[in-house]
């Protein structure tokens, strides 16, 4: 879900910087944020979808097909993982096409970015980037149908109009269905982009209405929906893999004699490990291939393997935390510096400081990674639940030595993704195993233990904040040190600093009106695979900053909401590049400045709806947090209750979101609900820890996620009405997550006086 800097460009950027300047990513990071030294974008700087690899496409001949019977099939090139994108993309096209929703179907695109444009489904950008191209597709197709009908009738096209799956000749009242002219329309040239007439928003039938049911709703409620784990092919065999328990480890020796005795086990083969950094490639290990999944699992349990653990065998969360804390207590690479925070802090009479700890997390989508691959006549075909089908195709081609045009990637539904399924290591495993089975179709299934132990983990961080307080208790200076291993460590030779896209997730682009601000990013060395996890580095940054503001407000004896609003300061549009963020979620800083008025707006809305300031019974508290991410503004007011045993419940949550124009309000709401619940899990329960290089958790007993009884009793989502549809759209899938943890932590403080500085809360409230 979250691959904000697309992968191929991450890699190119790192190596290009390395080659051109002889400096690593860390040195580059140093330069960011020093005013005037932000790397100038090239003349032809591209933003948004145009800035992604392979850009955007808006050709109706690629995305829209109309059958003789009038059935409209929209090809969705973005992957469905619960955000409702197949419904939302289709309804955009259908609206501009004037199609009757009952006659619209969706087909899922294969991985082919030359044809479909960028397909990386991450970074909360499917609708943000594809709204306009999909509108143009629908509108162009409508124009072509009108033209074809006019030609058939021999009338001027100005006299015909398409509406609800029919074209009408206005003067005569003659009508013809879409199916009857579809063939002729398909022969016509696609109108030039400038000539395409988009509908006026007042005539939208589906966009922004929220009355459309899920296009996959029937399949998903009847067991018919096909996920990556559900592929079945003739003569298919089933595999599970025993992987090195420590990142960078390999097989020292193994004995498969007992495994091969398990009925149904066919073969045991090894997969070559990928040296660190392992990018999207398999970890290697020993695979058991069998006639069914159960036999493969049984066989694997009988393998005797001795591992050579490699360089990360000393990775232990306890000592690593101390390393991060030590780094956070010393100056580090400066990533933003305005004014003289060091000087003011040194002389301050009143200061406040706090350190926050946010642990590793695993995405743990309900569908674990699973993929099926077969190789026939030198051609490879995969069925997989992947967020990045082109990256999957490229990695399969590279690792199997098959030309990329001979690799087909069919994308199934994803049973959740959350960033894990941006990485196709599991598909490459299936490819290698199919090769080992002479091309027979092999399905690789990850068990939950595999998924929890070999995730691409959310980073672990220590966030240290210091403020010098003026007479009114407001920060005269602000120092923030963020220390966390970077996702760049997957690709680069030993990067130790957060990359621009991580810094830009709520760290450097702090929208507060404080005269002296210094932000530093000391070194951290990654000792496991770090990856994207829904909302990524916004999680630690928002938790620390929004908790610290509440601490400051409390120290000043002020109302938290008033204090936060004052800290944000007057309504203004901040150019992100002026505060050290040259990344800005890949968006044009002119189109997408940070609008403090909108940030304050969601705070006002959430608090008003939550009844901020009302008196609460003993043991209850209201907490607030707001965060800007994925070019969207979200504020959360959480009400918690902590009983005399320290048992916490969440009676109510109010979430206000301003994501600009809204395409599918029901799915915006559902994303906020889901983000709230995932956020509750992150806050209260979730933690991955390492000992001797190994993950200590195995399954949903050790690695807990939110269940129905822990989730808020009421979640109220408040949508800020969108401006006109010409305005830029914000992201939706991720921005709901970051404010949840600090809102809950602030509510816990309000309820109990206990300040949570470490996640998860777990036993911290027990008495």
């Amino acid at each position: 879900m979250t691959n904000p800097l697309n992968l191929s460009s991450t890699i190119t950027n790192i190596s290009r910087r390395g080659v051109l300047t002889g400096l690593g990513a860390g040195a580059f990071v140093l330069a960011v944020g020093v005013p005037g030294s932000i790397p100038a974008k090239a003349q032809d700087a591209k933003y948004g979808g145009d800035g992604m690899p392979n850009g955007l496409r808006d050709d109706p001949k690629i995305f829209v097909a109309i059958a003789d019977d009038g059935t409209v099939t929209v090809t969705c090139s973005r992957q469905e993982m619960g955000q409702g994108v197949r419904t939302s993309i289709a309804l955009i096209v259908a609206d501009e096409l004037e199609a009757d929703w009952a006659r619209v179907k969706v087909a899922q695109a294969q991985g082919d970015e030359a044809r479909f444009g960028n397909q990386d489904t991450d970074g909360s950008r499917s609708i943000r980037h594809f709204f306009m191209p999909m509108r143009r597709c629908g509108a162009a197709a409508r124009a072509m149908l009108e033209e074809a009908a006019a030609q058939q009738w021999g009338v001027p096209v100005t006299e015909v109009e398409a509406s609800n799956h029919e074209i009408e000749h206005k003067p005569s009242g003659r009508r013809i269905g879409y199916g009857a002219v579809a063939k002729a329309a398909a022969e016509l040239p696609v109108p030039e982009r400038d000539a395409i007439e988009l509908k006026d928003a007042s005539r939208f039938r589906y966009i922004g209405k929220g009355e459309i049911g899920l296009i996959d709703g029937f399949d998903m409620t009847t067991g018919r929906a096909q996920y990556g784990i559900d592929t079945r092919l003739p003569d298919m065999v089933y595999a599970v893999v025993a992987r090195p328990p420590v990142y960078g480890g390999k097989i020292a020796s193994y004995d498969d004699a007992e495994a091969l005795k398990v009925p149904g086990v066919l073969k045991v083969v090894t997969i070559e490990p990928t040296p660190i950094p392992s990018e999207f490639q398999p970890l290697g290990g020993v695979a058991v291939i069998a006639r069914n999944t159960w036999a493969a699992i049984q066989g694997r349990s009988k393998l005797e393997i001795t591992w050579d653990d490699g360089p990360n065998k000393a990775y232990s969360s306890d000592t690593y935390r101390e390393t991060l804390e030590a780094a956070a207590r010393k100056p580090g690479a400066v990533v933003r510096n305005s004014g003289d925070a060091d000087g003011v802090l040194a002389k301050a009479e009143k200061r406040l400081e706090a350190e926050y700890y946010i642990p590793h997390l695993a995405q743990a989508s309900m569908e674990p990674p699973a993929a099926t691959v077969r190789i026939v006549d030198g051609k490879c075909e995969a069925w997989a639940c992947v967020q990045a089908p082109q990256a999957t195709r490229d990695r399969l081609a590279g690792r199997l030595g098959i030309p990329v045009e001979d690799v087909t990637v069919n994308v199934t539904l994803l049973g959740g993704g959350f960033g894990r399924k941006s990485k196709p290591d599991f598909v490459v495993e299936a490819g290698l195993l199919s090769k080992a089975m002479d091309g027979a179709p092999v399905k690789v299934t990850w068990t939950r233990e595999d998924d929890v132990q070999h995730a691409y983990f959310h980073t672990v961080s220590v966030e240290r904040l210091e403020a010098a307080l003026d007479a009114g208790g407001k920060p005269a200076a602000w120092l923030h040190r963020s220390v966390a291993p970077t996702i760049g460590s997957l690709f680069g030779p030993d990067p130790k600093h957060e990359l621009p896209f991580e810094l830009g997730m709520g760290l450097v682009n702090l929208p507060f009106s404080i005269p002296n601000i210094r932000i530093e990013n000391p070194e951290a060395v990654a000792m496991t695979r770090i990856g994207w996890y829904r909302s990524v580095s916004n999680i630690p940054h928002a938790f620390a900053i929004q908790s610290f503001v509440a601490e400051l407000a409390h120290a000043a004896g002020r109302d938290h909401k008033d204090y936060l609003l004052e800290l944000i300061g007057p309504d203004r549009k901040i150019d992100p590049t002026a505060i050290g963020d040259g990344w800005n979620y890949g968006e044009d800083p002119k189109l997408y400045p940070i609008d403090t008025g909108r940030l304050k707006g969601v705070i006002e809305l959430a608090t008003q709806e939550a009844g901020w300031g009302r008196s609460l019974p003993k043991g209850r508290g209201l907490g607030l947090a707001a965060h800007y991410s994925f070019v969207t503004y979200v504020a959360v007011a959480a009400e918690v209750e902590v009983d005399e045993h320290g048992l916490l419940t969440i009676p109510r949550m109010d979430i206000a979101i301003d994501c600009g124009p809204q395409v599918n309000p029901d799915r915006i709401r559902s994303q906020m609900e889901g983000a709230a619940i995932m956020g509750v899990g992150n806050t209260l329960l979730g933690e991955i820890t390492f000992k001797d290089g190994r993950v200590e958790q195995n399954n949903f007993d050790g690695y807990e996620v939110a269940r129905i009884d822990a989730s808020p009793k009421e979640i109220h989502v408040h949508l800020v009405p969108g401006p006109d549809y010409a305005q830029p759209l914000g992201g939706v899938g991720e921005p709901g997550v970051p404010p949840i943890a600090p809102a809950i932590a602030n509510a816990i403080f309000a309820a109990t006086g206990k300040r949570i500085r470490q996640l998860p809360v777990k036993e911290q409230l027990s008495v």
């Binding site: 009847t222 067991g223 784990i229 309900m366 539904l413 068990t447 995932m678 949903f700 269940r707």
Partner: protein
């Protein structure tokens, strides 16, 4: 040789009868609506009915179900029109949808025993079913809507 009924059809299996029904249903019978989520009775994705009672398919072996009747999401209602399935669609409950077979099977068992469940009933019956996408508020609402629609009639 184990003999069981699956969605009304008699099935015989002479392979390893210690195989959990989950894998038998999915790999041998192709009934992929029953999902794998944890394999350890921790998530409920594999929930099926054995002689009318909700069970975890990952913990119930073929031998356990010998002579019994198994219902999966595919066999819950002809045409997918169980009141819960209807409510689920009306409220757009699913996000990724992966956990929903198990959620619906568990909820069906709840409504059978407790036609008008309270919030506490729902919490205790449904807390074994994880939804990582966080569809719980709508699951709760859909169960109540289905309960209201059937007005307490036995399902």
């Amino acid at each position: 040789m184990a003999i069981l009924r699956v969605n009304g059809e008699e099935r015989q299996y002479d392979g390893d009868s210690s195989m959990p029904l989950l894998w038998y249903l999915r790999d041998e019978l192709g009934l992929i609506g029953t999902k794998f989520g944890c394999g350890q009775a921790l998530c409920g994705a594999c929930t099926i009915h054995v002689d009318g009672t909700a069970m975890r398919g990952c913990q119930t072996t073929i031998a356990d179900a010998d002579g019994l009747s198994v219902t999966t999401i595919e066999g819950l209602a002809a045409d997918g029109d169980h009141p819960l399935q209807i409510a689920w669609r009306e409220l757009n409950v699913p996000q990724c949808g992966y956990c929903q077979s198990g959620q619906i099977m568990q909820a069906a068992s709840l409504l059978k025993d407790t036609p008008q469940p309270t919030d506490e009933d729902i919490d205790s019956a449904m807390s074994g079913n994880i939804c990582r996408c966080g569809t719980y508020p709508r699951i709760r609402a859909a169960i109540k809507q289905a309960a209201a629609a059937t007005q307490g009639a036995k399902l």
